[in-house]
Amino acid sequence: MKAFGEIWRSNIFQKWLMALTGLLLVGFLLGHLSGNLLVFLGKEDINSYAHGLRTMGHGMVIWIVRLGLLSMFVLHVTAAITLSRRNRAARPQSYAKVTPRKSTVASRTMLYSGLLLLSYVLYHLAHFTWGAVHAGNYAGQIGWEYTLADGTLVPDVYRMVVASFQVPLIAVLYVLSMVMVGLHLNHAIASAFQTMGVTNQRLVPLIRRIGPALSFIVAAGFSAVPLAILAGVVK
């Protein structure tokens, strides 16, 4: 019997980890996106939604979700780096001439789009969650409370988002990052199903079309908020 450690370290097992965690992260992104789009409904909707997230299950749920996300990120990134290093080592001498046939810009730059994504996530957390950058727009500051329809005093998330994206540099940074997300997912979504062994000939062509389409929807959906605010449509 092989030890589980040997199986865990194998290339295919690491690929499975990357696919499973990646798809769960995609699921999170879709949930996150649907929340963000509440900005278009107005102040009350997004602020009560944000308040709901923070207080769900006596404030426990958000911490469970955060812990889950963190572990998925750690697993995904460590597997990505481990495999990328092995892949590089597998070809010590490169070709003088390479003429690709089926790989794409997205598939060949997964590590780079991923690493840029990682730095974006840290910046994004520092911005909206920790208030460590662009602190002048942080929703948690004194004087920025918003009163919900039921009278509860909550941080004004809506104001934070609008004030931030009225700064062109911040809006452009976010939109560029979403292009990065789109690039990563363009290859990632369909790839994950191949990794997880989907062979059905009715499903595979469908997945290879839905993957890139979904990646575009995610990138465009997230970009809509900063773009609408920058254009003054939402204020």
Partner: protein
């Protein structure tokens, strides 16, 4: 036609190699690519130079011995065509052609365009076989096999073990080769005896040889002279976890 070739020359496994440029004249469009190299080698021999070493055997696209990267594509520009079945009519007068060996840590260069593909043999030894009864041959139709399964096994069995998939893969992964073997035997009733451990054992050997991991670029299936589908890779991914959690290895 006249051609300019840039060929990887390396005198031995540990020697430093480099691309060298050769001009060949009066190449007939009816020659195969290997015949063109034969002509170059004749020429080099008469000049007292060392001929270019390359692998070949059947020269009819069935043995998997030949193989070189021609202008950045394993076996050259045509689909489903081995280097020996590539003809010079694919090229035109004045073309510059880069000729390099398969590049992978698990395929060390022995000399010029010849690489050692012993790593493939070691992968096969780990599970590329089935258990059979010795003695009298069984009645031909004793084991029912559906046409679909037989076809699928045949599609996978078409792999000639040339290594073009590894050469084409940006990660030097041997997934397509290994998956073809796992998929071939796994599709047939005769292959079920070792089914639960085959993928596990062959995959771990593949890792140990230093092949890279698959990132689903699908360069392998595009380069494969036998058109093996990357669907077999997905199947092997599934067989591997099935072994991991249900195998008796």
């Amino acid at each position: 036609m006249n051609l300019r070739l840039h060929i990887w020359r390396q005198s031995g496994p540990d020697a430093q190699g480099m691309l060298k440029t050769y001009d060949v004249q009066n190449v007939s469009e009816h020659m195969s690519f290997l015949e063109m190299l034969d002509v170059l080698n004749e020429d080099l021999l008469t000049k007292g130079e060392i001929p270019v070493a390359f692998d070949h055997d059947c020269r009819e696209g069935i043995c998997g011995t030949c193989g070189m990267v021609i202008n950045g594509r394993p076996h050259g520009p045509l689909v489903r065509t081995t280097a020996c079945q590539l003809h010079m009519r694919t090229f035109k007068d004045g073309d510059e052609i880069y000729i390099e060996p398969w590049r992978a840590r698990a395929f060390p260069v022995m000399r010029d365009l010849i690489v050692d593909r012993g790593s493939f043999d070691r992968i096969i030894q780990k599970g590329g076989f089935v258990s059979v009864n010795t003695g009298n041959a069984q009645d031909g139709n004793a084991i029912p096999i559906s046409k679909k399964d037989a076809d699928r096994a045949m599609d996978a069995a078409a792999c000639i073990g040339c290594g073009a998939c590894v050469a084409a893969c940006p990660n030097s992964s041997a997934m397509l080769f290994t998956a073809a073997k796992v998929g071939h035997l796994g599709s047939l009733p005769q292959g079920q005896t070792e089914r639960s451990t085959r993928a596990m054992n062959m995959v771990l050997q593949m890792d140990a040889e230093g092949f890279g991991a698959c990132t689903n670029h699908y360069e392998c299936e595009a380069a494969c002279p036998k058109g093996i589908s990357a669907e077999f890779i997905a199947q092997m991914n599934k067989d591997f976890v099935a072994s991991a959690f249900g195998g008796r290895d």
